[in-house]
Each structure stands twice: as structure tokens, then as C-alpha cells.
Symmetry: C2
Subunit: 139 residues, 2 copies
């Protein structure tokens, strides 16, 4: 039996660079393995999406509601100076939306996180604590 070609499969680079947080109604929520900044990624569990306008209307609204809840939960969990939200996809084409907590003095403030030097691994348990805190904020 062949796999359903329309089924969602997480991009291999996103999978390699992140830790799963939870599945929301539409999106898989991921934490980037990069301790330089609290960095979450939402990926709608739909196959073949590249641009925002590829989503069906109801999915796009659901994505917005989930992004809004995630931004608020990350803000509460980390109390940053500013939340940065972005859908770029110049390297990984599968549609994904970044939600990143930024503060003065972080490694590339006030410039963007994307494409800046190399990820720094989390120390023992810090990523798990952040994940629990975000999950709590989403409840």
C-alpha cells in the first residue's frame, strides 16, 4: 500500500532543528534547538503549502488564532522586549511561521534571527522548562 500523497509530512530540516511542543488544532508547534532566543515555529499540518495564500480561508484564520495564542504564551513565558513573527521560507519551502522572543542585548538585536550565525544548544533542561511554560500558557 502506498502512502497518501496528500498527507502532511514535516520537512526534514524543520524536524532536525526543532523539538516538538504539541499539536494544536491545525498546526504542529515546534521549539527551535537554539538557546540564543526563545523561538517557536508553527507548521500547518496540510500538505503542499508554500505561501500564506495557499491556505484555505478557514485554515488561514485558524493559523492566525493559533499564532496569536502562541505569541501571547511566549510573551508570558519569557517577558521579552518584542515578539517577532515571520513567514519567510526562502530556504525551507514548507509553509511555517516563526514566533520569536527578542530583547535588547540578544546576539543580533535589533536585526532578525534568521540566517544569523549558528544555533547554541540549550543547557540541561532549559528547553524542557520553556516547553512546559509555553504549554501552560496555551491551556
Amino acid at each position: 500500500m502506498q502512502a497518501d500523497p496528500s498527507a502532511f509530512v514535516l520537512d526534514s530540516r524543520l524536524e532536525a532543528d526543532t523539538t516538538p511542543v504539541c499539536d494544536l488544532a491545525l498546526c504542529r508547534l515546534l521549539l527551535m534547538r537554539d538557546a540564543r532566543w526563545p523561538w517557536l515555529i508553527l507548521v500547518p499540518r496540510r500538505a503542499g503549502l508554500v505561501e500564506l495564500f495557499d491556505l484555505e480561508d478557514a485554515d488561514r484564520r485558524q493559523l492566525l488564532d493559533e499564532a496569536n495564542a502562541v505569541a501571547r504564551a511566549l510573551d508570558t513565558a519569557t517577558r521579552p522586549e518584542k515578539i517577532n513573527i515571520g513567514a519567510l521560507g526562502n530556504v525551507v519551502r514548507q509553509f511555517h511561521l516563526h514566533v520569536v522572543a527578542r530583547s535588547s542585548g540578544d546576539p543580533n538585536w535589533p536585526k532578525p534571527v534568521w540566517g544569523f550565525e549558528s544555533a547554541l544548544p540549550y543547557g540541561s533542561g532549559a528547553d524542557e522548562a520553556l516547553i512546559r511554560s509555553v504549554q501552560e500558557g496555551l491551556r
Copy 2:
């Protein structure tokens, strides 16, 4: 008589760096004066917004609908490789959403446009032609 303190005023830096395209139902649409990449900015005409979750629910959905229409119009007008969408606000805190057309070989591909070197002025009439083309796509 004093000005209404709750009234929307466009941030002075956004005003200095852009050319107005049109007013949509919620947002003022602006073109960055930077010929390196077709770069539009939506600014909800509401005072005091900083984060996505500062918008009221109906406004946030309207912003999404307008951003989606603008992304599609810019895609049609410029046929880029990828549309980049982002709300950063690390420098200008007034909430604003970037919609940028990107292609392989542009000055910072595949890295982001924000904070990268200096704007390049448009040649004669190229910005006006792009504005007309985007306005056409929004009709």
C-alpha cells in the same frame, strides 16, 4: 482644541522611508523606497498597537485578510520566488507588517531584508509603476 490622543498617527520613520499606496479598510499600505526588493508594509490605522495580540479580534482578522490580498497582489505584480511576511518591530514599535517579494540572486537572498545595508532609490517611475500594478491586483 486638542488632538484626539487615541487617533492614529503614522510613525515618523515609516513615513520617511515609504510612499503611500492606498488605505484599505483597516490598514494603510505603504511601499518602501528601496528598489532592491518590492517591499510593502501594512499599518493598521489604530493608535497604540505594538504586538499582534494588541489588536482586537475583528481587526486581527481584517489585518490577515488584507495581508493575504496584498501578498497575492505583490506575487502577481512581481512573480517572485518567495513572499516573505514579517512583523518585527524591534526598531519601530508601531505595529506594522512587512510583505516582501524575494528571489534568488537578490542582494541578501536567502537571508532577510531587514537590517541589511542601505536602501537603493527607485529609478524614474519604477515605484509608480509597481504601485499601480499592486493597486490593480487589489481591485
